[in-house]
């Protein structure tokens, strides 16, 4: 058995939160997540991946792939050996993603493909260490994960896992925002928002009236989610070695931005004090108490005296750059087979 190993972790609950109710956010069917993994397996097989490690779940994704394995017929395109990482307790929380990714890294995965939204990618990134991540969108706010056909993502992951495309041509290092609140530390891949709400509750953030401050590792003009607010006034790319922060002011703001802060929700948001974030500097949260939302989901509460701070770091997860990998593949002729036929 070779060591070209790819891990695939899929969040069964991505694309199911309250934003289906308060906006018209996408519903991502379980069956499609299972189909995406099958398409990836076909791509892995085409480029010589030896083994695929798949997360297990109670949501029906791994069961769908398992059933598909049983239906394969002679003559079907090759798949790598498939190993389901069963035996782990399934809590139906983010801990399942973290545990699966940690086990994949221990088992020698060279790339971890992560199916979910920003929240899933954040959890996977924290557990992946230096193993490259390829986040594929099946969630709600899809800023960090790429919206990409699974077959293409699978080809890119496979070409990296087999070593056909060297890391220098394939990988980029993401920024992260490190949030410290009391004894807790969280990381965000895209943004951190400060909310006046008292509880984590349904997690999603969709009411700008509750926000007071925003920090972004990057802010792209074409983004969805909270980073879109600053993406229109102070764009920062993923590659730039800085971030951007601002106050959210709904009364007497310096200016208002009409921003798509959630799918189907384009609202005016008042901002002030827009300024860049330099790496390594701790930027204080100005509110005394509230909730900190990371990558669009309320994650931790803080009380008076906690004094949270947000720091931009440039040593985030290594990520597979899908277009770059396939461009390198074209340049190196990795998917081209000389048939020796005569021309002209």
């Amino acid at each position: 058995m070779g060591d070209a190993i790819v891990g695939v972790v899929a969040n069964p609950l991505s694309g199911r939160d309250i934003r289906r109710l308060v906006t018209q956010a996408t519903v991502f069917p379980t069956a499609e997540k299972a189909s995406m993994i099958q398409r990836m397996l076909a791509a892995f097989g085409a480029v010589g991946v030896h083994r695929a490690l798949l997360s297990t779940d109670l949501g029906g994704i791994s069961a769908g792939v398992f059933r598909a394995l049983g239906r394969r017929r002679p003559g079907d395109p090759p798949w790598p050996d498939v190993e389901f990482l069963d035996g782990l307790p399934i809590r139906q929380t983010a801990a399942d993603t973290a545990a699966a990714v940690a086990r994949m890294t221990r088992c020698g995965a060279r790339v971890i493909v992560c199916l979910g939204g920003d929240g899933t990618a954040r959890v996977a990134a924290a557990a992946a260490g230096d193993v490259p991540l390829l986040p594929v969108s099946t969630g709600t706010n899809n800023v960090f994960p790429v919206v990409r056909e699974a077959t293409i993502a699978g080809l890119a992951a496979g070409l990296v896992a087999t070593g056909a495309v060297p890391p220098a041509d394939a990988l980029t290092r993401a920024k992260v925002l490190e949030v410290r609140a009391g004894g807790r530390v969280e990381t965000a891949l895209v943004d951190v928002a400060v909310s006046t709400q008292a509880h984590v509750a349904a997690r999603a953030v969709w009411d700008p009236a509750t926000l007071t401050q925003l920090f972004c590792a990057f802010a792209e003009p074409d983004a969805i989610g909270l980073s879109s607010i600053l993406g229109q006034v102070a764009p920062v790319s993923r590659a730039q070695q800085l971030g951007v922060t601002a106050l959210i002011q709904n009364h007497d703001p310096e200016r208002k931005v009409v921003a798509p802060i959630a799918p189907g929700l384009v609202v005016p948001v008042g901002i002030a004090g827009v300024r860049p974030m330099t790496p390594g500097t701790a930027y204080p949260v100005l509110a005394d108490a509230g909730v900190l939302a990371v990558d669009g989901e309320r994650e931790l509460t803080f009380e008076p005296g906690t004094r949270p701070a947000v720091t931009l770091r440039t040593d985030g997860p290594w990520c597979v750059d899908v277009p770059a990998v396939l461009a390198a593949s074209a340049r190196l002729g990795l998917l081209t087979r000389d048939q020796g036929g005569a021309h002209g």
């Binding site: 199911r16 309250i18 289906r20 109710l21 008292a198 509880h199 509750a201 009380e303």
Partner: protein
């Protein structure tokens, strides 16, 4: 909309959940003595669902419950003493002792009844929601049902009808993992009950049913949507029931999830930790509620046991209702 629960609302939420928990723990204990006739199906572990949904409701609104209905009754304001007496089959019960655990109802509170028919509640809610819509009361109807009920034709037809008629109806699927002893991961073909919402043209969301605040927030948005003419919503709560399907169930089909849920996920523990950490309520205030609830449940049991049973002649009363 901001999360703006007042201190009184937080105390009400805690009191509701604590009352449900103590009621169920006590019925569990008393049932073992053999004094309670019939079956009981206990709601312990699921308190945040009933409390979080019903805190968004008022006297205009109606709910329909299931065979596991004690929690819904308490959350909608049904008298606890009357409920306990009903479970004991006494004349002082909510239904004069003729219904028992599975048929507790109090129309004056908008509680249409616990229901021995799996999937029996959703059609009733279509009726009350239609009435509210036609009368313009602003009321909503909430149907609670389980993962087993989610597979019933009545439930699916009701969701279709509610969407076609754009009714102010909310369908709350309480997925506790098992329909009697059949795992929902096996019996629900779509894996998530909420996934079915799209087929009926309504939003469907999944909520951590152990988290009162998550339930309350999702229900608040669904209720507001329904009141304002936005139509029905499906909310799926995911959690674990602490007791068997019925009292006496040997639960050979379950592993260790109950111990984990009680220790790590419990809605009352999480609520208490959250509100004391942020200073909304003090430990002393919560302890005071605990004391009041304990006295309430003791009194309910004592009075129920002392109350008379229905006389043979009572068999012929309340059989027919004139509308």
């Amino acid at each position: 909309m901001a999360d703006t629960l007042t201190k009184d609302q937080l105390l009400t939420a805690y009191q509701t959940m604590r009352t449900i928990r103590e009621f169920e723990e006590r019925v569990h204990k008393e049932f073992a003595t053999g004094e309670i006739p019939g079956f009981v199906h206990l709601y312990a572990g699921e308190e945040a669902s009933a409390a979080g949904v019903c805190l968004n409701l008022d006297e205009r609104d109606t709910i329909a419950s299931t065979h596991r209905g004690h929690g819904h009754c308490i959350a909608k304001g049904v008298d606890v003493g009357g409920m306990m007496a009903e479970i004991y089959g006494r004349t002082t019960g909510s239904c004069h002792g003729k219904g028992g655990s599975m048929h507790i109802a109090d129309l004056s509170k908008g509680m249409l009844g616990a229901n021995g028919i799996v999937g029996g509640g959703p059609p009733l809610i279509c009726g009350t929601a239609l009435a509210a819509k036609l009368k313009g009361t602003g009321g909503v109807g909430v149907a609670f049902f389980g993962d087993g009920g989610s597979n019933q034709g009545t439930t699916l037809e009701s969701m279709n009808l509610a969407s076609v008629w754009n009714l102010p109806a909310i369908f709350v699927a309480e997925n506790n993992g098992y329909a009697e002893s059949t795992a929902s991961t096996w019996s629900v073909a779509t894996d998530n009950i909420a996934d079915r919402a799209g087929a009926f043209g309504m939003p469907g969301v999944i909520v951590d049913g152990f988290d009162f605040f998550a339930v309350h927030e999702a229900a608040r948005e669904a209720v507001a949507r329904a009141r304002e003419g936005g139509g029905p919503t499906l909310i799926e709560m995911k959690f674990t029931r602490y007791f068997g399907h019925f009292e006496g169930d040997q639960q050979t089909y379950r592993a260790q999830e109950v111990a984990h849920a009680r220790a790590e996920l419990d809605c009352l523990k999480r609520f208490a930790a959250q509100v004391t950490a942020d200073g909304s309520l003090s430990a002393a205030e919560l302890a005071a509620v605990d004391g009041e609830v304990g006295i309430l449940i003791d009194k309910a049991v004592e009075e129920a046991k002392a109350a008379p049973l229905p006389a043979p002649a009572d068999l012929l009363t309340d059989v027919y209702v004139r509308y």
